[in-house]
Amino acid sequence: MNAELPNLSARESLDIIAAMIREAKGNIQRNNFYFLFWGWLVVIANLGMYTLQRIGYEYFYAIWLITLPAWAFTLYKLRAQSRSNAARSHFDRITGTLWISFGVAIFSLVVFGRLINYQLNPVILIMSAIPTVVSGVILRFRPLVIGGVTCWITGMLCFLVDTQTQPLIGAVAIIIGFLIPGYMLRSHKT
């Protein structure tokens, strides 16, 4: 591209602006990795918790400890990713902040879980609807919006069933809310 081009017409100027904005727009990160990674993890934890409860293991909730190394890995990967990003869009910052806030909120809920009678599955599902829907709207990716709405509906459903059945609903919610959109996002080319 030349710096000085004599007689750059108005139309050519507009074409340059439009092309560059389009280039920058394609740079919105499509972080399907996190949807798949956390999706599988939470599905496994939910199904594991359900199974451990069924076989009468006392510390069935201990399965959620698998999320601790997952948090460490996620933070490490986010850090590495932010270093290798050649450009950062405004949307990247919004979605990033949204998911980090969500993570902090989940952590607080887990710490004080006893005070809400361990009704964590419904509360976390309803809360996860917010970043999922917003991510879907920002990426203009309808399956994520549908996934977020599914989290919200299944979250309410969880309040209506006994705590033993909640992990099963949680697993289904995450499959529809995170895993299916995650795989679709991976195969979706823009």
């Binding site: 920058a24 050649a86 950062r88």
Partner: protein, 98 residues
């Protein structure tokens, strides 16, 4: 009477850089070079011109041992870009076959 187009923006490469920076929060030198398909030397000169006019800020740092240049658009740059686009509209509105 038509408004004059900002000569600083009415150049292919500088306009491309400004259009990219308007769309993102910040961008590295390598990103700008790849998207505008320009040479490092030329891009560097044009970035300096934009920075001197107060349109963008250039931050030089290091990633490991390698130098890292990050650019951001400044409020004056946004204002100039908007003025340029609105001036451009007047030219576009001219009927083509008159």
């Amino acid at each position: 009477m038509f408004k004059d187009l900002d000569p600083l923006l009415h150049s292919q490469l500088r306009l491309a850089v400004m259009s990219l920076l308007i769309s993102v929060e910040s961008a590295e030198f390598t990103f700008l070079r790849a998207k505008t398909n320009s040479t490092a030397g030329n891009l560097s000169v044009q970035l300096d011109k934009l920075a001197q006019a107060g349109y963008i800020s250039i931050e030089k740092s290091f990633r490991g041992k390698r130098p890292l240049t990050t650019c951001k658009v400044k409020p004056a740059g946004i204002q100039a870009f908007e003025a340029y686009v609105s001036a451009l509209k007047q030219y576009i509105d001219i009927p083509q076959n008159s």
